[in-house]
Amino acid sequence: MDERSRPVRNPEHPAWGVEITLAQVSFAYGAPPRGGGGPEGSGGPAAAGLSELTLEAPAGRVTAVLGPSGAGKSTLLAIVAGLLSPHAGDVRFDGRSVLRVPPERRRLGVVFQSYALFAHMTVEDNVAFALRVRRRADGGPRLRRRIARARVAALLERFEIAPLARRYPSQLSGGERQRVALARALASEPRALLLDEPLAALDAQLRLALRAELAERLAESSVTALYVTHDQEEAMALGDRVAVLRAGRLEQVGTPEELYRRPATPFVASFIGEANFLPVTWDRGDGTLTGPLGNWAVDGAEAGILRATNGSDPDRITGRLMVRPEDLAPAAPRAAHLLAEVVSSTFLGGRRRLTVRARPCGLERGESPACRDAASQELRVDLPAALTARPGEVLPLAIDFRRTVLLPPDSVADRTDANRSPAREETP
């Protein structure tokens, strides 16, 4: 993975905002919520609930919440914002529960996926909205109005939307709307900023440009931010930490690099970047990985195997070895770990993507008809673009075991598989 260039937070600007904690939060659509009914339209049939989700968003940092649609990301955001009440669990700002605090008193800034700009107000009125409705104890109404006007002017300037101040949202482009939404959310100096897929409504090119801009603005404001997205690149570009959500559960939290290098589950491994999974069994006694594709003697610590044991120390572990496409490379036959026949080769500019069919044998025993019929597995391999490979060519490939990770079998996926084919035997 390339070194990412993320704007560095301004050390002179102190972090402001609260630490947000979700503790064992559960929510199910359709079930009666705790403390009164939730409004209609908040979920819809596609919206997913949450089950016993625990997550911390540190103060002054961007926590990206990543997951496929239906993972419960927007539900999580609505719960933090107070627009939905969880059925169980607690939401805390700086350690204090806010469950009884209505959304209007949580002092948050929310950027909605649709932006939800007020259609009947000008850009300026949109940005000034929070300052006009929020009551403050300090100063009289006139002073408040003067401060509000100055702050709105500064925000319009900062977000380069001052020339649009008198326009209505319907007269703005997608990028302009996004800036207005962000300026509006930041106007009252919220304790945290919640962003719900703010780039999803834009076309690809604009999305990239605005992503960089958004990263900069988040960094310079140093506000606690929860950034919900289904786009892993976006999450990695914007999040100081990324929380991967799946079916309402937290799969893993970590820096983008941790998630890529040391995924905790096969789901994370395949959702953050691409991955091959080789079924293997690790034998501590003789230090070998055994699988349908071969027998390899490796250093267990190095091959990311010991991480899979969760501290315990069993002698044999069966699981799946995650191998990133770039961690497979052509090698001399003697140094190779498996033989693979090239199925297809695609030039992708900076690299070349191969799809290969790895064979379980051939390295030691040579080609034989029996060997060719044996089980094989398709793998994705990334090569430097300068290397060429023709379909049909047989390549000896080496696995960089320093970058592999042994993962437990995917429990959620296995459950679903079992549900789909009830005839299948349950494995303990």
Binding site: G37, P39, G41, S42, E104, L108, G109, S114, A116
Partner: protein, 283 residues
């Protein structure tokens, strides 16, 4: 260049012919529809002699080319009905809004089990013939049948579903997102309603109110069946002029009826168009 210009003229000529035919056709069709109305309106202004009716003896005197005496006659006979219908329309509009606004808000913002069903049920009277509604009302609430406001209840049965549908539509979708956004920006329930919800509802509500006024003004079935001899809404009076008065009198009565409903229809058309444009702009 000159060739292309003549080409253009040719083409325009061809289009022109088709267009002109279309215009003639449309006017012809329109006239067919409008002719009876024109005849009736003209009849309201013409003196009896011109209409060939000598029997009308209410106003005697010099016969002018154009006369307003039929109007005077109608107002004398049915003025109270006219006033009664104006009051009924006012009651239907205000009671309708008073019922439909909270109902729509509640159904959308605080749904409860069965809310959808209730919504469908509330729209049902639109599909039932007016006579059936009227008879159902008479049978169900026989005791209050004599009350002057009973006809307004019949009108409400039609108009509340109309209002409800307009308001429900306005409250769903973007309005909901905007209310949520306003909440996160610090606006309490009252501020949300005043600054976000009401500005969005104002136009649909006005449109709905105009439609309700028009329906109430023109509704015949319930008006006729629910009316008692003491309180006759104007459509019922109109019917009476057709059955028991001369053509000139019924023409004058009809013209008064049209004078009441046409401004409403024009306002509905204009407001509706603006509303449609606002919806398109918002999208």
């Amino acid at each position: 260049m000159s060739g292309s210009r003549s080409d253009r003229r040719d083409r325009r000529g061809g289009q022109g012919l088709g267009r002109r035919l279309g215009v003639v056709y449309c006017w012809a069709l329109g006239s067919l529809v409008l002719l009876p109305v024109a005849v009736v309106v003209a009849g309201a202004f013409l003196p009896a002699a011109r209409l060939g009716m000598a029997s009308e003896g209410w106003v005697r005197g010099r016969e002018a080319a154009v006369s307003l005496k039929w109007f005077a006659y109608v107002l004398h006979l049915y003025g109270s009905s006219l006033l009664y219908s104006v009051v009924l329309a006012g009651v239907a509009v205000s009671a309708g809004l008073a019922l439909a606004l909270p109902a729509a808000y509640g159904l959308v913002r605080h749904p409860f089990p069965g809310a959808k069903l209730l919504e469908e049920l509330a729209l049902l009277p639109l599909a039932v013939p007016g006579i059936a509604v009227a008879i159902a009302l008479i049978q169900t609430y026989a005791l209050v049948r004599g009350e002057w406001w009973f006809v307004a209840v019949g009108h409400l049965l039609y108009t509340v579903p109309l209002l409800l549908r307009t308001l429900l539509h306005a409250l769903r979708g973007e309005a909901f997102d905007e209310e949520r956004a306003a909440a996160t920006l610090g606006a309490g329930p009252l501020a949300r309603f005043a600054r976000i919800t009401w500005p969005r509802l104002r136009r649909p509500a006005s449109l709905g109110a105009l439609i309700v006024a028009a329906v109430s003004w023109g509704e015949f079935n319930a008006s006729f069946l629910l009316a008692t001899p003491l309180h006759q809404p104007y459509p019922a009076a109109l019917f009476a002029t057709y059955t028991s008065n001369s053509f000139a009198v019924s023409s004058a009565a009809t013209t008064l009826f049209l004078a009441g409903i046409l401004p409403l229809l024009v306002a509905i058309e204009r407001l509706g168009r603006r509303e449609l444009m606002a919806v398109r702009q918002g999208a």
